[in-house]
């Protein structure tokens, strides 16, 4: 297939696309880097003098920065845990033949197509509202004190909303992987004396390892930048209880109009995201080349 000529032809052919992508990424990246070293506030008309590492210094030493890092990790970790475990469970349930499989599968995937702002608003107003929400009503009718979700357990509430959106994604990928498992392997294991749990542990789980890796990697990338759900529910509060890194950058640059500080935060976020990516690749990447 790949002769020398075809390989060099391929390089020539893809070069425009590569250049375009490179420009697409490099221009905003360089601008962000550039702004991050300026004292650049939209409320102060006039000069944008060079500020050195000042923006970085103030961004990192801001007490909300530490909270934001912690919140980001809790949010990503929580959602990953719920969606992978829940997705595995749902996939195994959906894999068995049952009545109305097609409709049930469409219903299961549906939440993924709801826009984050919409789903968060629905959850906020129709489910989690202590007075009018369904949970509140149920609690009241049973004689309990309704939970003020965004006041008392804000982070858990957001994790729940985001998990609701991403559970279908995990379920669908894991279900597809599960369906590609050779049934004869399961039957062989059954004859070899493996009960359900052993078949799950020794046959299904290793078969799903690669799909689980994909689910974790893709979700991590998207979950690091969760924003809409926080904006429409808690606005990062109470205090900084639900401020993640993305939201903190938004606060700096668009609520405090400090472009320099926001850019510094952006650069820090890029570095952190890359550290997480390398870490993840190291940890589970070997599943991918097996």
């Amino acid at each position: 297939m790949s002769t020398k000529a075809s390989r060099s032809a391929a390089k020539v052919m893809i070069s425009p696309a590569v250049l375009l992508l490179l420009g697409w990424m490099l221009v905003p990246l360089c601008l962000t880097l550039y702004f991050s070293f300026l004292r650049y506030n939209l409320l102060q008309i006039g000069d944008t003098p060079f500020a050195g590492w000042e923006n970085y210094y103030w961004f990192i030493t801001d007490p909300s920065f530490k909270a934001a890092i912690k919140n980001t990790l809790v949010l990503v970790g929580g959602v990953l845990a719920i969606t992978t475990v829940g997705g595995l469970f749902a996939a195994i349930l959906l894999d068995r033949p049952m009545f109305g499989t097609g409709i049930i599968r469409i219903m299961v995937i549906a939440p993924f197509f709801v826009m984050p702002t919409v789903s968060a608003l629905v959850w906020k107003n129709m489910f989690m509202n202590p007075v009018n929400g369904i949970f509140g009503r149920v609690a009241t009718s049973l004689g309990f004190q309704p939970v003020d979700f965004f006041g008392q357990i804000p982070m858990a509430s957001i994790i729940m909303i985001v998990s609701w959106t991403w559970l279908p994604f995990a379920t669908l990928i894991l279900l597809t992987a599960l369906q590609s498992l050779d049934q004869e392997q399961l039957e062989a294991a059954e004859m070899d004396g493996a009960g359900w749990w052993n078949r799950f542990w020794f046959i299904m789980l290793p078969h799903l390892a690669r799909a689980i890796t994909v689910v974790i990697l893709i979700q991590t990338i998207f979950l690091l930048s969760i924003f809409a759900e926080i904006l429409v529910t808690t606005n990062g509060g109470p205090g900084t209880a639900t401020t993640n890194l993305t939201y903190l950058i938004y606060v700096s640059s668009l609520l405090q109009f400090d472009v320099g500080m926001g850019s510094a935060g952006g650069v820090i976020a890029i570095i952190l995201a890359n550290i997480v990516a390398i870490f993840l690749m190291r940890m589970i990447g070997r599943n991918l080349d097996a």
């Binding site: 050779d182 004869e184 392997q185 039957e187 062989a188 294991a189 059954e190 004859m191 070899d192 004396g193 493996a194 009960g195 052993n198 020794f202 046959i203 290793p206 078969h207 390892a209 097996a290």
Partner: protein, 334 residues
């Protein structure tokens, strides 16, 4: 011990009756081959015995006790699947160890049995490889290894050789036969290939649309096929069937003559025909002859050095004691 009895065993998938009620006895230590065309229910029957499918009605007894409702793992049977069904993420060693691990056997005993199995199957060098790094024949042997270490009451094979190339198939056939001789354990072997059935079996069970057409030793089936189906299925090349006047002359609806029971001559004989295709195999020549009334083409097995070619006129003489006669229902007339 591995004595298996099927009593009025029936299997339906929904409304489709794949196996009508059927009786079968398999003695301890026998090598039984289920043979029949594709889709006739061989695998289903084997899976019923294994416990991977539930019977619709009837009972399955293993060593005299009713095992109809016993789960597969408890029946003491080991199965080798057509696709081998090896566990791809485990090394060969761990694959073979899996059933023993599930049985919570001691580590030393596991190692001892793995070593023994690996030695007898020529797998010692490959114990640390993954199934994906093995050839088809080696995978097959791993699957067999995984079955022997359990020391089962009976082995079940479902078309184990159909994914191998012709040369390897002949080799593995011998290996499985030798294994049976050595272990002396009941083996049930499913195949659609009558050559495998003839060469390996103590007892052949010919199936057709879920119905047992005949049970017997290979030579019994060859010499005394009970009906037209068995007569046509067993033997290669296929038996020639002649209907019409010629058959009526023998007092039958149809007569059958195997290709090897006909003499060819260029000068004289009761039947006259012309040579169509002659297949020269070296040791034998299969001649397809046209123009014999009631059967076209008529196949003859002649010595390798017979000198005939396309278009030649030839005369055929059937060997009278080897003519099989069948009635209008296709049953053998004794």
């Amino acid at each position: 011990m591995g004595r298996i009895q099927l009593k009025r065993v029936q299997k339906k998938f929904g409304d489709v009756e794949v196996i009508p009620p059927l009786d079968l006895e398999i003695e301890d230590g026998e090598f039984v081959v289920f043979v029949g065309p594709s889709g006739c229910g061989k695998s289903t029957l084997l899976r019923l015995i294994a416990g991977l499918e539930d019977t619709t009605s009837g009972t399955i007894e293993i060593d005299g006790s009713d095992a109809t409702a016993t789960p597969p793992a408890k029946r003491g049977l080991a199965m080798v699947f057509q696709s081998y069904a090896l566990y791809p993420h485990m090394s060969v060693r761990r694959n073979i160890a899996f059933p023993m691990r599930m049985a919570k056997m001691s580590r030393e005993e596991q190692d001892r049995r793995i070593e023994a199995a690996a030695r007898s199957l020529n797998l010692t060098e490959y114990l640390d490889r993954r199934p994906g790094q093995l050839s088809g024949g080696q995978r097959q042997r791993v699957a067999i290894g995984r079955a022997i270490v359990r020391e089962p009451a009976a082995f079940l094979f479902d078309e184990p050789l159909s994914n191998l190339d012709a040369a390897l198939r002949v080799g593995m056939r011998m290996e499985i036969s030798e294994l049976h001789r050595k272990l002396d354990t009941t083996m049930i072997y499913v195949t659609h290939d009558q050559v495998e059935a003839m060469t390996m079996a103590d007892k052949i069970v010919v199936l057709h649309a879920g119905v047992i057409e005949q049970v017997g030793s290979p030579l019994e089936l060859y010499r005394h096929p009970r009906n037209l189906f068995v007569a046509g299925f067993i033997g290669s090349p296929k038996m020639n069937f002649i209907e019409g006047d010629e058959a009526a002359g023998h007092g039958a609806h149809a007569i059958g003559i195997r290709p090897e029971h006909v003499d060819v001559s260029t000068t004289e004989g009761p039947w006259r025909g012309t040579v169509g295709v002659a297949e020269h195999l070296g040791s034998d020549t299969f001649i397809h002859i046209h123009g014999i009334p009631g059967c076209d083409p008529f196949t003859v097995r002649a010595p390798g050095d017979v000198a005939v070619s396309h278009g030649d006129a030839v005369f055929l003489t059937p060997s009278a004691p080897h003519i099989h006669r069948f009635d209008a229902k296709g049953l053998r007339i004794a």
